[in-house]
Subunit: 696 residues, 2 copies
């Protein structure tokens, strides 16, 4: 599934690259402040009004856990995917009440369940701050100085804007450093669960069907946003069109694609192929196996790790698909030819100096990648924390760093401890979501064992971390000894600042303190030797592409709001026509074909209500819209801007979209609005919800 | 489960080491030609007659797939574990007849199903040939020369003995090179399936319960051995004792432990910890995930890979347990102290020269391990074939090598192509067992992708293998293009020898030909730079240990017949007494506790016949006997030499037995003979079988 951004896999650098030459088919992850007007007019004869765009932008919602969604009622109802909401469903569950398995339906406001640590953001405004950020970097600065100056400028801009507006303000690096835009978000932190179907139908077909099509999933979930204890009146919302779309329709997807690597230079793609993807897959394979083995020991174990296990399964499938693309020599040679073409174009246009600079920048990226190959493993283990796979460790690290960073002026802090980001950070830090000792022990022991395998028993850090003990025993000590499980203790340490941290004898806090100098050191090197030179080189490359092909170019995905344009359309596979949509009838047939074995078993309720259902209701459909992980829960809208579906996945052919768009067979997959309405009405008899959703 | 030897994990060197100092508790994997008479007499007052030992030895059976078993009737009935027979059950299954799921019961001889490629061996005689092997190596020979001379001597000895007796003759390297014994085996190749229960009861609790205790598994399977179309009269067989054993009983296990690393020197254990185990676990994790994902797509997929998937799950659990031991600094320091003690003892005995030689040998092993760290990865990928995870590739390689090796005099061939081994080799090569294209593609594509990851895209071998194509496409080409699926084609190539191989345009044969020079080269280096020097160094170490502690020492396991001595005894875990046996009643309660979810669902037949069962029948039991992977299916016998149970697993605490024996909590797990009889009678109503088993 096009689930919330894959966090496991170390998004090393917020990578950005550029479209080179013409777009493929319906390619494009367009910025809302730079929509593809020309393309829309020429290709579809469609000219969106500013109000059309504003409504769509402000009806969209970003889930801080890594997904998308949209307001669908004037009373703050937000629709997203079940698999985007699932981590909250998991956190709201108990051994007695398994919301993932049973689903949930609040029939009155009092029954709406407040989520422990969900934050939603609505993008209110975008401002181009490129000049201010770029001008902070002076000629002749070393990469370290440039990096510090740039970070300082960004933190100042964010802090000023936050003070001025009270909004969450993020500076977003676009085109990998060619542009910087300031995004103003309205933050919502009181979010309540209203409705979720059973996982059996939300994720019908489970991991085996994930990223496959035809599909039959009611992958939806409804939350309501509150402010001051009252349902919020959102700036805008989308009306659900009960008829939905049909084959051939022009449709738009607005959501938060997490990350693409489409126009990384070839050595950069080779780095992903040779280092980053293999390492992250190694981690994913072992964690999937270990969580699954734990899960199968008892039903309660299964409940405790269900969401996390799914997350690894999902990442594994996605990453294997991307890696297969990276390992295809044909794709890499095509990329190389495209790169060469930029220089050729520039020379044709007489821009020889720029062509020369462009070639130098390519060379520099190749060199940076050589350095990155050396640094990456330690950076991944220590700073990205792959060696410490534990909620409790991450809480401890946040407490340790928060105290230290707050001592510094805002502009000198680590990026994520800037004053403007503190409210969101505290919301996460003080989350009352349950933490299970057995799960923590399991995960921490395995990752400590991996640390030992990767760095060797004689490595300074390994000795420091393990304290001459077997990983399993060390993990037991840390988990059973720490008080970071208690929110009160976290609050106490947060309030006490550096003194409290220094005095704490909590073993997890002590571990976080001990590791921090090393983690900070490798991060510093990584930022100064990799990220900053990379930004500078890609900025040159971006300018060269603009000069060669014009500026009608979108930046790689950055988990910020984007618009994509496409058509509802089936495709052909092994000579067989794959239809644009599936139906409820198909779902029951699919269940039958798998002898109703898990995960191919429809919920009891669906069987009980079967005869009430209109069996030819379109259930899931495919379209050519350009999406990627993070787009899960994005609304699909028609020309009128009405909601006709919700993205929840891409098919197996679309996995390669991470590095290259094609629409020969690759498709986004969505739940059809007709299926949503039909199921809410006939299966769940959610009449109040329906009247709210269909209010004029 | 103590399944057939784990083949995945690259048994790099048939490792042997020695007990140092006293034995721990009931430790010992004793040679049948050197039973622990003194220990038996002193500790248990038991003095086995030669006839007692001979009966046990010749009633035991080795499964060439990596397990143990025993004759249990005068008419050639062999009892082993279901999980030892499962690969044959898999191969005998079709989409319409799933023998793993449904079980099997031949009620008359005509219904007994002939296994496609099973070979059983019975050990008839052992001869010490140490002197002849050692004297082939002359002073001043280089390791390469020594290796060649030793191999030549071994192949000659085997060939002569085979010619003389017609038996299968294997020279076994013991104490890692201190001794060489010639094992004479009777080979049986017409083996037929008689009875197997449903997997639901044979492997009740599945992977989650694997290596756990209490357990409730009827992990048995019955074959019948034929010769010349008639049931064989075995040299000896074991009578099943219906009463079986009780807590406190002295019991013996006779079987084929595959491999232990108990007294490797510390640098050698560190090599396992840092290189061999992490690499093999990496392979296991990814294959488990990939097979499982394939398995879940359909019931037929599941059937096709069930046995292989189990094999990875089993290896994963076992290896994680051993690795945890290797990663425990306390264990490694204890090992180091034991090693130091050998030298101290020798000096105390005034054997200063030998102490010096011993220390030098330890140093040499440390150096060899440094070299092994460099060579191992390529050796593992190319020669052990981890890069080519495909039945068809292995068939192709065998055909290519067989043709080439047969050109050479017997004594100069690769070890496994010696004349004496050819019959067994051809039996495997011409197996009609089904090979599935989809499974082959899946496995080969993944392993080619791994080859690319591990060696990098620019590596000569990677280019040679992939031919500038993506791994997936290359695998498709190879699998769909090869005729090695057809037994007739294999026979044709085998008959045609080098000419036929040279002329073959079969893509898989061509791949095997292309890779072979590289694989042979790395094997040669590995044998000459690692294995031979290691044998020489460990021979010195073995002699030193003999000199320090006397010769009452057993060699590490080598997948040859061993005797272990132990006691039926429960243990304590987290302060709780774990009883020596479980009962049928417990099995039904266990099912209930897991809400009858797979794999905690008992077969329908067990529910139907429930009220006929004596619920307090002992089901599984634990004993302190020293076992390891390969011991699966070993008979447990009492003082009278009667069959009282069958080993099928060890508990989680026993995983560490690979490197060190302890019997504080570690236990072998067996099916109780009373459960076998009760189930055959009451559930399966196998009256003919019962009368055969209970014939006087």
């Amino acid at each position: 599934m096009r689930k919330r951004m894959i966090m496991t896999g170390a998004v090393a650098v917020s990578m950005v690259a550029l479209v080179c030459g013409g777009l493929q088919g319906e390619e494009g992850l367009w910025l809302f402040n730079r929509p593809p007007r020309e393309l829309l007019r020429q290709r579809y004869g469609f000219e969106p009004e500013p109000a059309w765009l504003e409504r769509l932008q402000q009806a969209c919602v970003r889930f801080n856990t890594g997904g998308s969604g949209s307001f669908v009622s004037p009373n703050g109802l937000v629709m997203t995917n079940h698999h985007v909401g699932s981590d909250q469903l998991q956190k709201l569950s108990t051994p007695e009440r398994d919301l993932l398995a049973q689903g949930y339906h609040a029939r009155k406001p009092e029954e709406e369940l407040r989520c422990p640590d969900l934050e939603l953001n609505v993008l209110m405004r975008i401002e181009d701050v490129t000049e201010r950020v770029q001008s902070a970097v002076k000629r002749g600065m070393s990469p370290a100085e440039a990096n510090a100056a740039r970070r300082k400028a960004i933190l100042e801009i964010e802090q000023e804007a936050h003070k001025r507006t009270g909004l969450r303000c993020d500076v977003v690096t676009l085109y990998h450093g060619a542009e910087y835009h300031l995004y103003y978000y309205k933050r919502y932190t009181d979010v309540r669960l209203v409705f979720a179907p059973e996982k059996e139908i939300a994720f019908f077909g489970g991991d085996p069907d994930n990223f496959e099509y035809p599909r039959y999933c009611l992958d939806i979930c409804l939350f309501r946003v509150y402010e001051n204890g009252q349902p919020v009146k959102p700036p805008h919302y989308l009306r659900i069109d009960r008829e939905g779309c049909r084959e051939g329709d022009l449709v738009f997807v607005a959501g938060h694609p997490g990350r693409t690597d489409r126009l990384n230079t070839v050595p950069h793609l080779q780095f992903l192929r040779d280092v980053q993807f293999p390492l992250s897959l190694q981690v994913i394979f072992r964690r999937e196996v270990i969580l699954r083995a734990f899960s199968e020991r008892s039903l309660e174990n299964a409940r405790r790790v269900e969401d996390e296990l799914f997350s690894y399964q999902n990442s594994r499938k996605a990453r294997l698909g991307i890696l297969a693309g990276l390992q295809d020599p044909a794709i890499l040679s095509a990329k190389g030819r495209q790169e060469d073409d930029v220089a050729a174009q520039l020379r044709k246009l007489g821009k020889h100096d720029q062509a020369e600079q462009y070639e130098q920048a390519r060379q520099r990226i190749a060199e940076i990648m050589r350095r990155q190959r050396q640094l990456y493993r330690e950076y991944y283990l220590l700073e990205r924390g792959v060696a410490f796979n534990s909620e409790l460790f991450h809480i401890a690290r946040t407490l340790v760093r928060l105290a230290e960073e707050r001592q510094k002026p805002n502009a000198e802090r680590l990026r994520e401890y800037g004053e403007a980001g503190i409210p969101s950070l505290l919301q996460q830090l003080f989350s009352p979501a349950p933490i299970y000792d057995d799960v923590e022990r399991l995960k921490l022991a395995d990752s400590l064992s991996m640390l030992l395998e990767w760095l060797g028993a004689d490595h300074e850090i390994v000795k420091l971390v393990l304290q001459n003990q077997a990983p399993q025993r060390r993990a037991e000590q840390l988990v059973s000894g720490t008080k970071c499980k208690e929110v009160a203790y976290r609050k106490q340490l947060e309030a006490g600042g550096v003194k409290a941290i220094a005095a704490s004898e909590d073993p997890m806090i002590q571990l976080a303190k001990a590791v921090d100098p090393y983690a900070r050191a490798v991060r510093k090197r990584y930022e100064e030797e990799i990220e900053e030179p990379l930004r500078q080189a890609y900025a040159v490359i971006a300018q060269a592409r603009f000069a060669a092909y014009g500026t009608n170019i979108y930046p790689d995905a950055t988990f910020t709001l984007r618009l994509s344009v496409g058509t509802v359309r089936g495709y052909t596979e092994n000579g067989k026509a794959i239809p644009w949509c599936t139906t409820f009838r198909g779902a029951f047939a699919h269940e039958e074909a798998h002898q109703k074995r898990e995960p191919f078993r429809l919920p009891l309720r669906w069987h009980q209500r079967r005869e009430h259902l209109r069996m030819d209701t379109p259930f899931n459909f495919v379209c050519t819209n350009d999406i990627i992980g993070g787009n899960s829960g994005s609304p699909v809208v028609n020309r009128r801007g009405d909601f006709v579906g919700i993205i929840f996945d891409g098919n197996i052919h679309s996995l390669i979209w991470d590095i290259a768009y094609t629409d020969e067979q690759a498709r986004a997959i969505a739940v059809h609005s007709a299926a949503i309405i039909e199921a809410l009405e006939k299966v769940y008899q959610a009449h109040e919800l329906l009247s709210e959703l269909q209010a004029k």
